[in-house]
Subunit: 325 residues, 4 copies
């Protein structure tokens, strides 16, 4: 049984980890660290777990756990690891963005592997430290990797993606207020989102010549969960050829599926799946990519990485009932 420690236990990604581990046959939570809620039952914060667990938040870590998930605000993982030591065997999976980029991946003799299983599975299996990808970054990379490995990304990439309110975290804010967000839409960080860096690096791993701009508009949707991304770029090949590339690339992937039918976001909500739909319009290939930002875009993928790191079947504990409605 894998003993799990969770750091930053009050946030959305920690809650989603707890929900998944609750039914994971090979893992159990050893401690949930939260300085603000230490001493309280975790169900005071993650109230949906009422009846399922008696866990209590703690402000003391157990340095001997098998794996630690860091569910901290971006930039805070380094601080935490600087101040807290774990056993030499303890694996660490960071859900923040501190170690995702090449320049950040090695820190104090820790070598973080970028944890996108569809790109780095072999490395993840042998990794002790994993940097879990960003949510937008996951949806976008999965949409583009099969093109990249065929050196087909030779033109500008046009990306529009809308995320649910859980993407902005648990802290109440003006743009997270229900009165604002309900029936509303807006964009933010257009052309400048921080995930462009990790996406670009992954595409360069797959296609070393890649040097195209990612023209990316992230939107705030009025749903709670999910990322709905549309991407298009000029590609010479016909749809059949491209479809085969995608099917081949993902043929052994349990969670990523390809279609040429129309798709809608709620096909993947509450699951670890990514569904990719392909259409060809003249020279343009239109790719639609959907994930649940908290599952495949965060905590589900983190568990997928944990499974790989511990030699378990990748989908252990991750065959989740789709929400659909």
């Amino acid at each position: 049984m894998i003993k799990v420690g969770i750091i930053g236990g009050s946030g959305y990604t920690a809650g989603e980890l707890l929900r998944i581990i609750q039914n994971h046959p090979n893992a159990q939570v050893d401690f949930v660290y939260s300085t603000t809620n230490a001493g309280k039952p975790i169900t005071t914060v993650h109230q949906d777990l009422f009846g399922e667990t008696d866990l209590v938040f703690t402000d003391t870590i157990n340095p001997e756990v098998n794996v630690v998930f860091l569910c901290l605000g971006h930039g805070q993982s380094i601080d935490f690891l600087s101040q807290n030591a774990f056993a030499s065997h303890t694996r660490i999976i960071d859900l923040g963005n501190d170690f995702r980029l090449n320049k950040d991946a090695v820190w104090q003799h820790k070598n973080f592997v970028y944890g996108l299983p569809e790109l780095n599975k072999a490395k993840i299996k042998n990794a002790q430290f994993v940097a879990n990808p960003g949510c937008f970054a996951t949806a976008i990379q999965l949409a583009l990797l099969p093109l990249a490995i065929h050196n087909t990304l030779q033109n500008e990439l046009h990306i529009n993606a809308t995320t649910g309110s859980t993407g902005a975290g648990v802290k109440p804010s003006a743009t997270g207020h229900h009165s604002y967000r309900n029936n509303n839409m807006s964009h933010y960080k257009a052309f400048n989102h921080q995930h462009i860096g990790e996406i670009t690096e992954s595409l360069q791993k797959a296609q070393s010549t890649f040097n195209q701009p990612l023209l990316f508009i992230p939107n705030r949707g009025d749903f709670t969960r999910g990322i709905f991304a549309t991407l298009y770029t000029k590609v010479n090949q016909d749809l059949d050829t491209i479809l085969k590339w995608y099917q081949d690339y993902y043929k052994n992937e349990p969670f990523t599926h390809v279609t040429t039918e129309p798709i809608h976001l709620k096909q993947v909500v509450q699951t670890n799946k990514c569904i990719i739909s392909l259409e060809k319009h003249g020279d343009y290939l239109l790719i639609t990519s959907i994930i649940d930002n908290l599952v495949k875009g965060a905590s589900g993928q983190a568990i997928q990485n944990m499974n790989l790191m511990f030699g378990l079947p990748e989908n252990t504990g991750l065959n989740l009932k789709s929400g659909n409605f």
Copy 2:
């Protein structure tokens, strides 16, 4: 032209006042007082007014305005009036709950009239100071007053009402977070809501013998605007008799309408209307009452009171396009 001052200009009720006054033919905003936003255009907060106004928040009041609307947190109106004096002619309409109850209605030689036009129209016309009713209190009183004046409230009153997220104000909070509120429902202050007091007093004005408990469960709905209230109590009379009571009571009221057809909340959203539907089930009369909590439940009713106080037709500036969708 009525010169208007608004105190507490950053909140939801202030914003709704500004939207209504913007198109009111006989009133114009003189100043919008906000200590936190002084110096900023009001469109930085009430962004939907962009293109319609150049008003700027101020931290200086003009004591000579014709009317002041107090849009402060409950309990703060007394503080504000203690520290700020207005001209002897200035009328004051308080949207908080400081002066609604009989025991609070006279304060420092100011005599506040309870501003429910359907109950107190003659008094409001002659009032200098008005206490605007609470939102739940408005929906519930309008549902019950025609029974009260026929001395028919002789049994327990069962009330269930659901309010939108704007009812809880602009300040971000855990239960106002979109991730929490979307597709969710909960109740709060069951049997103990602070509006029970003003409702009871109004019913006693209409039916001096009234002494029944109000068994009232307020719910948080996942919509943004509106109150959907169902009420039932034992009443001997048949539906035709009761319907006639309601129609008579509201026959000269421009905003309150009665039906025996099913109704739904969005019939009144964005308007100053209240629609009341009546059904008889055995001994029980079921009353459904719907309002927009920010309009008839707050700022629209405040303008209705202003119109009455200044001798204008009651509906001036208040024939608002229904939202419906």
Copy 3:
């Protein structure tokens, strides 16, 4: 491995059964019967299952399956069973309302047990035919049964419950239109809902003297899943005594949990759980009961019944990740 047949495979409850069985370790779908969609992959209708199954709708039944779930419109189960015969060993679980009432429970030598595990567990274990309870009926009975077995239901029962749009089925309709339902609320069948019958019969099983009216207002909420029910009645005992009754009644139930803390609907959405919260206000006991109408209120409970009927642990395949957001 339990071989499962599903009749009426295009509807919401069939879809939810398919989602749950997909990950059930001891059951697998043998056929999904739909006359309107025969020949099409089930993922053309239940699109969220894309990537997980290759099942195709059929218009031919396999009469030898171990269990059949009837997911037909109310009143259609009898028609179907009249025209289609199954093996003598085949168990039948009807999700409609054809066999729920005492007067309907025996039909052509088939004796249907009312399938509320918290009430009838022993009988269900030995049943060949089960009538799965209605969604409102489930939430309401679980809220009241511990009182009934203590003969405490001696006064009128006041019930207000709001359901999501999936409660009205897959067929498009005016009141199911997003433009209507979004940010809206309404009630229907007040005091006359068809579930009152089955609730009353269950309460009479638990408290033979029970003869109180159920004053029940069902509401249409603007969420998609879930039932949020509040109930109150006069009860003499204090909260501690009552809490203990509930805790004792549900102490061996894996899905039904009791608290005195405030609760909100999304604590149970996507799960087979029911959470009940108790408050005492003067003489009144206020009970809040929440379920997911498609899971504990329909398909999850149907699987729970199947587990019991086949001697499996009750929660097999039903430890579902909560949706929460």
Copy 4:
């Protein structure tokens, strides 16, 4: 007083016309034609108008009205006009797409002017027949016209726009079902939407050399009202220059406003406004354009056209309270 006839009175755009005309000082509804609802009060369909009107649907037209609004399904206006004659003075405003394109604009001696006031104001003032623009077409043209008149549209146009569920009409459908649409997102007719034609023609009027493709992805949002459109294209000029172009172009327009601040959809919902926000990112100009699809995108703009055709101030009856929440 302008006498108004409305054809196709049961639909969303007819309802919105009725709401606006209800408070229009210079127009009143003479008849509302609906073959399916003839004889019923219009409040049986447009229930939010309860208490405001006693109008009854009719299946008889009054051919002498001053103006007729055609609110029919696309393609049905020609059928209707073929079978029904109006007085020679009667003005006709078609909200469908039958007469929007150059090739369709002249029909049986009727010359339809394309009714986008910001493009064709002078012609509309003198028109007897007006083809009201499409909703997406309105949001997109207003975003691009100031560039076109400076001959600046020299590169591909990238457009992503999300519309509310009212955009798909009143008829219940699978993709309009609340259970589907709530918390969901999808796209349709990518690169092929029917509004591309009218947009292209308008841009060519403004910039005769215009020959760029409109790469347009329309999305179904889970809100009810509004269009949120983002557009970008390469433009050489700096933001100050471009901002001035937009401000100049719209300086006399009462409803279209320009900013460089972030905007969100609900700033314009329930109003006839369009707000355009400009950002420059490297060579790319990013334009965000927001309207209410039923108001500026349909019925509000139709009234704006009526006002112009009858010599009224353009904003008569159209200073609508913003919904905002």
